[in-house]
C-alpha cells in the first residue's frame, strides 16, 4: 500500500512538470497570438485610414472631373439625367471614381436655371467617400453688355458723348462735324473727329440679343396697355410702376407692354419703375422732356421692337400724384402732396431692334444696344453698369455657365 502510494506521488510529480510546460506553452502562445493580433489590428487600421484618405481624394477628383465634363456639355441636364457622368479618368491605381448630377426636387431638366447637386464618388479598398457641390447655373451676358453703347449697324455721332466704357459697333463709327467723343471707340471703321480717347479699328465681335425672342419674352411678362387707351398716343405726366398703372391693373414687377401697331408714341414727363416694352413702334416714337425709367436688377429698362428716339432732357421734372395709395420713390400721394419731383435719366438696359437715336441731354446709367443703326446727338452721357454683366436680364445672355455655389463643396453622406 505504502509503496503504491509513493509510486502514485512520483507519478503526480512527473505529471506536474508537463503541466508546468503546457502552462508555459499556453502563456507563450497567448502572448505571441496577442501580439500578432495587435499588429494585425494596427495594420488593418492603417489600411482603413489609407483607404479613406484615398477614397476622399478620388471623390474630390471625380467631382472636379464632373465639373470639367458639365462645362463641355451644354445640354448636360438632358445628357446626365439619371445617368452617371462619364469621366475622362474613371480609375487611378488606388481606386475608382464615378459622378452624378441630380436636382434635389427630382426634376433635373425642368428648369435650366435651377440649382443642381453634383456628387463625386470615390472607392478605395473598402472605403467609399462622396464629395458634393451645388451647381448654380449662371448666365453669361451677351458681349454687347461690355460696352456703354453698342450697335449692330453704323453709329453716327453728331454731338458730344462721354462715357466711362467703350462705344462699339460691328459696322462703323463716324463722328461728324464738330462731334466730340469722350469714350474709347472700337469698330471696323472709325472715321471723323474729334476722338478724345483711344480708337481701335476692329470688330469687337460682340453678340447681341435676339430681335425676336428678347422683346417677345419681356412682352410675355408684361401687363398690356392698349394703344387705343392712350389719349392721342401720348403718355404725359404719369407714374407707372409695380403699384400704379393709369390704364388698368398694376404689374407687380412694373413690366408694361404697349403694341403701337406701327403708330408713333410719345412718352414725356413720366416716371417708370420697372420695364417698358414697346412693340411695332412708328418711326416718330420718342421719349422726350423729362423721363425717368429705373429698372430693378434682372430686368431691362426699355425694350423696343422697332425704331425709337431718346430725347430726354436731364434735370428734374414733376409728376402729379394720383392721390392716396400712389407711391413714387417712397412718397405717398395724398392730401397736401400734389406732385413728386423726379430726376431724368434711364437706369438699366436699353435695347431697340430698329433705328435708335439718342439726343438732347439724355443720361443713361447702363448700356444702350442698337439692333440696327444708332445716332448719338446733343450731349449724351452714358455711364456703364458692370452689374449687368454679373446678372444680365433674361434673353440678354447667351449661355448658362456652370458655377459652384460658394461654400457648397463638402463631404456628403449617401442616404
Amino acid at each position: 500500500m505504502t509503496r503504491e502510494r509513493r509510486h502514485g506521488a512520483g507519478a503526480r510529480a512527473r505529471g506536474s512538470v508537463y503541466a508546468l510546460v503546457l502552462g508555459t506553452v499556453a502563456i507563450a502562445v497567448a502572448m505571441v497570438l496577442g501580439g500578432l493580433e495587435l499588429s494585425q489590428i494596427a495594420s488593418r487600421r492603417a489600411r482603413v485610414e489609407s483607404d479613406v484618405l484615398n477614397a476622399r481624394a478620388l471623390a474630390d477628383s471625380a467631382l472636379e472631373q464632373a465639373l470639367h465634363r458639365l462645362m463641355q456639355v451644354p445640354e448636360w441636364r438632358k445628357a446626365y439625367d439619371g445617368v452617371d457622368i462619364d469621366l475622362e479618368v474613371p480609375a487611378l491605381d488606388v481606386g475608382t471614381m464615378s459622378a452624378r448630377v441630380f436636382d434635389p426636387d427630382g426634376d433635373l431638366i425642368g428648369d435650366e436655371q435651377s440649382e443642381a447637386l453634383v456628387w463625386g464618388i470615390g472607392v478605395a479598398g473598402g472605403a467609399r467617400q462622396i464629395a458634393e457641390a451645388t451647381i448654380r447655373p449662371t448666365p453669361r451676358a451677351v458681349g454687347a453688355l461690355h460696352s456703354a453703347v453698342h450697335a449692330v449697324g453704323a453709329i453716327t455721332i453728331a454731338g458730344s458723348v462721354v462715357s466711362d466704357a467703350p462705344i462699339t459697333s460691328a459696322a462703323s463709327v463716324t463722328a461728324s462735324g464738330s462731334a466730340r467723343v469722350g469714350a474709347h471707340v472700337q469698330a471696323p471703321i472709325v472715321s471723323g473727329a474729334i476722338y478724345l480717347r483711344s480708337t481701335r479699328k476692329s470688330d469687337p465681335g460682340y453678340n447681341v440679343p435676339s430681335h425676336v425672342d428678347g422683346p417677345a419674352y419681356w412682352a410675355s411678362q408684361a401687363t398690356n396697355i392698349p394703344i387705343s387707351a392712350i389719349s392721342s398716343r401720348k403718355i404725359e405726366q404719369q407714374y407707372i410702376g409695380p403699384t400704379s398703372n393709369p390704364w388698368g391693373l398694376a404689374n407687380p414687377r412694373g413690366i408694361y407692354v404697349i403694341d403701337c401697331q406701327g403708330q408713333s408714341l410719345t412718352v414725356s414727363d413720366t416716371a417708370i419703375d420697372g420695364t417698358l416694352v414697346l412693340l411695332n413702334t412708328g418711326s416718330a416714337t420718342v421719349l422726350s422732356k423729362g423721363v425717368r425709367i429705373t429698372a430693378p436688377p434682372g430686368q431691362p429698362a426699355l425694350v423696343v421692337q422697332g425704331p425709337i428716339t431718346l430725347s430726354i432732357v436731364s434735370g428734374t421734372f414733376e409728376v402729379p400724384l394720383l392721390g392716396g395709395g400712389t407711391i413714387i420713390g417712397g412718397l405717398l400721394g395724398g392730401t397736401g402732396v400734389l406732385t413728386s419731383t423726379q430726376t431724368s435719366g434711364i437706369e438699366g438696359l436699353v435695347f431697340a431692334t430698329g433705328a435708335l437715336a439718342v439726343q438732347a441731354t439724355t443720361v443713361v446709367h447702363g448700356t444702350i444696344i442698337g439692333g440696327s443703326t444708332l445716332t448719338l446727338g446733343g450731349a449724351v452721357t452714358v455711364r456703364h453698369m458692370p452689374e449687368l454683366l454679373d446678372a444680365p436680364p433674361k434673353h440678354f445672355w447667351d449661355a448658362l455657365l456652370v458655377r459652384v455655389a460658394p461654400g457648397s463643396w463638402k463631404q456628403a453622406v449617401d442616404e
Binding site: 505571441v32 494596427a42 484615398n54 472636379e64 487611378l92 451676358a141 467703350p166
Partner: protein
Amino acid sequence: MRQRRRAPRARAFSLIETALATVIVGGLMLAVVEGVGASVKAGRVAGDRQRAGLLASMLLDESSRLPFQDPEAASPPPLGLDDGEQHAKRETLDDVDDFDGLDESPTDPGGNALDGVQGWTWRCEVVNVDSTGKTGDDSGLKRITVTVLDGGGRALARAVRIRARARDEAARTTAQPVTAPAYFDTQIVGGLK
C-alpha cells in the same frame, strides 16, 4: 529505511524530464521573442504607413488647393517651378504644377522640419492627363501623385488625385469676370456724375 530512501527519488524530476522541459521552454522563449519582435515591428511599420498616408494626403491637399494655372501667366507655362519659387519653401508656390519635381524631407509650408519623420522623403509628380487618362498636352486635367518614402527608400504611402481647371472656373462667383479690355480704363473725360 528502504522506503524512506526511495521517497525523495520518486518526487524529484528526472534528468531527462528537466532537459526536455528546458529545451521546450527555451524554444518557446525564442519563438515568443521572435513573435513579439515581429509584431512590434509590424506595428511600427503600420504606424509609419499611417503617418506617411497622412503626410501624403496633406501634401496632396496643399497642392490641389492652389490654382490650376499660374495666376500671373498669360498662357500655360511649362509644368514645374516658375521664377522665384522653391520647393524648400512651399509658401512661394502659387499653382498646382509648381509641386512637380518636389523631392524633399517633409516640412511645413515654411520649410521647417516635421517631427518623427527624420530620414523620410516625399516626392510629388504633376502631369497633364488627356482624355484617356494618359499623360499628354494640357486638356484641363492634371494628375498629382505624392509618394512618401522612409530612410531606406521604401515607399510607405502613395496618394493620387485629379485636378481640373473647371474647378477654378466654377469657383468664380460670376459668369464672366469683368475683365476690362486693354483700352478700358477708369478715366472719365468729364460730364459724368
